[in-house]
Amino acid sequence: MIKAKSGDTLVKNRHQNLGLSDEVVLSMYESMLKARRVDERLWLLNRAGKIPFVVSCQGQEAAQVGAAFGLNREKDYVAPYYRDFGFVFAWGMTVKEMMLNNFAKAEDPSSAGRQMPGHFSYRKLRMLSHSSPVTTQNPHAVGIALAAKIKGDDLVSFVDFGEGSSNQGDFHEAANFAAVHKLPVIFMCENNQYAISVGLKHQLACAHVSDRAVGYGMFGKSFDGNDPLAAYAAVKEAADRAHRGEGPTLLEANCYRLMPHTSDDNDMTYRTKQEVDEAKKHDGVLTFAAYLRSVGVLTEEREKQMEDQVRKEIDEATDYAENAPFADPDSVLRYVYEEKN
């Protein structure tokens, strides 16, 4: 496992060792920053009574963005889950689209406001439709890979889910199916230590979700989820395996959910502020910025420019989304079945 940034000079140029240019890692950082700043804005909007609900990505951006960069963003199919802000930004969703999603407006590309925020879907981007019952997306991702195999299309199917969700039957059935049929699937668990209020120890008794890989005869790996480069490397390796016909991989990103489960949750009923504060020290957005600064890639000027740009984008997107129309109420009757004309 690659260690996150330390003071050691040896960690310098880690991204170059991975074959990533300075511009690419800056672009990674930009996606992470976007996700973080959008998330922060959503909480403000929620508290201001402008949106009824927030589900948060904070603490998981690094793993998400690193993973997206490890894939082929022109070809691969992805099934991100509700916390995957970083992933969907890196994958091509715009801040405006994200805000339309959170304001549940007609132009929301995921569902035109039918679903709760964070239930991403975007056919144009080969992003599967996500629902609320957890882990149902895992077999879908396997189905994409099976279909691609039948058609002879060389691509990777990627799916994200939480560690609590890894205890659902669908996790097991999907992983087993993919392994038996040696399908090009990457299962990535974003282990943020909690499933709402239930901590890891009450969810599973193995050390790492990736320990489950052996039971499917597939490759498994756990990595530092605060480090986008670790995520990139792990996903890239899994994708390479998949392309070589070596079948699926089960990855675990070790991270921490920095915010309450959602805006409906009060996390202080089941964990302490100290614990959260401790975790904040390893916050991937901060540590990656520090790394980029330490290797001279993120200059003060560039950082300010990025922050300004992101803020501007968010401001505009928020304005746009807030003022955009809801879908026509009569539309609730539409698209139950195919509409033939």
Binding site: S132, V198, F326
Partner: protein, 327 residues
């Protein structure tokens, strides 16, 4: 008599049953320290400990299936499904196992388990936090499905469900949780399962319904009374198996029947009520049966105006009753 909210009545019933019978225990997602995402099990973890208020892994089939095993051992598990929308992973355990264990073992084994699940719309929950799931199960002999409308009924019916020696699905309306308040006796009482309840006596039009819609009907009845229309309201309370006699009596009472549900229409439990009436008291009717329900679309959207458009509205209830009265 103390006034409790609908959810406080849930908590009180659980608390009293747990203290009354050490075989009663609670299991589910976040029911422990967190007291449930709606706080239905609030305080129980502190009072009864982690052995009897069990935070399970995120796996509904296991929640139901482990509950079944514990029930076979002689316990009375009360399993919480965090949202009724999420009980489908447990459909096989509920329908193939819980419902059939007594029958298939020729009465040797039984499954005295209660499955609590918040259901219903109007809470900005979107497609998967708003559904009515009763119709999926309301064709499975061996199950009982209870849906209370008032805090009083909640307490009496939940206690009866927990003490029942067969599996009961107990759907709680999540919008009613804090919206609906009412008097609840401090003493121990149960309400028999399988019995509908006349919530209002009337002579012109009969409304047969359950859950939150009982309150919509009651409000409409109040308004219509001013216009001189007298509404009879039957609260099904148990939606499977239905209380046939009560349905027949209520239909005969006025000869004009509005069947009301917030579920989507086709295949809902009010369809069965319609069938019972069509079979048994066709010639007592003065008007065709009416059904008022949500549209036959997959589920309730999240966006405010769309949710509004999807849900049955109080005015619709009022209009349907008035129309029937004038028929």
């Amino acid at each position: 008599m103390p006034v409790l909210s609908y959810i406080e009545a849930v908590t009180q019933a659980l608390d009293e049953e747990m203290s009354r019978d050490e075989n009663v225990f609670v299991l589910g997602e976040d029911v422990g320290k967190r007291g449930g995402v709606f706080q239905a099990t609030k305080g129980l973890y502190d009072k009864y400990g982690e052995n009897r208020v069990i935070d399970t892994p995120l796996a509904e089939s296991a929640i139901a299936g482990v509950g079944i095993g514990a029930a076979m051992y002689g316990m009375r598990p009360v399993a919480e499904m965090q949202f009724s929308d999420f009980m489908l992973p447990a459909a096989n355990q509920i329908i193939s196992e819980a419902a059939k264990t007594r029958y298939r073992s020729n009465n040797d084994w039984s499954v005295p388990m209660t499955i609590r699940a918040p259901f219903g719309g109007g809470v900005h929950g979107g497609l998967y936090h708003s559904q009515s799931m009763e119709a999926i199960f309301a064709n499975v002999p061996g199950l009982k499905i209870v849906i209370p409308s008032t805090p009083y009924d909640v307490k009496g019916l939940l206690k009866a469900s927990i003490r029942d020696n067969d599996p009961v699905i107990f759907f709680e309306h999540k919008r009613a949780y804090r919206l609906i308040k009412g008097e609840v006796p401090v003493d121990d009482y149960t309400i028999p399962l399988g019995k509908a309840d006349v919530k209002r006596d009337g002579t012109d039009v009969t409304v047969i319904t359950y859950g939150l819609m009982v309150h919509y009907a009651m409000q409409a009845a109040d308004k219509l009374a001013v216009e001189g229309i007298s509404t009879h309201i039957l609260d099904l309370r148990t939606v499977y198996p239905l209380d046939k006699e009560a349905i027949i009596d209520a239909a005969r009472k006025t000869g004009k029947v509005l069947l009301l549900t917030e579920d989507t229409k086709e295949g809902s439990v009010i369809s069965e009520a319609a069938a019972i009436i069509a079979e048994n008291c066709l010639f007592d009717l003065d008007a065709p049966i009416r059904r008022l329900a949500a549209p036959d679309a997959p589920a309730m959207p999240y966006a405010g105006p769309l949710e509004q458009a999807f849900m049955v509205k109080p005015e619709q209830v009022e209009n349907e009753i008035r129309d029937l009265a004038e028929f």
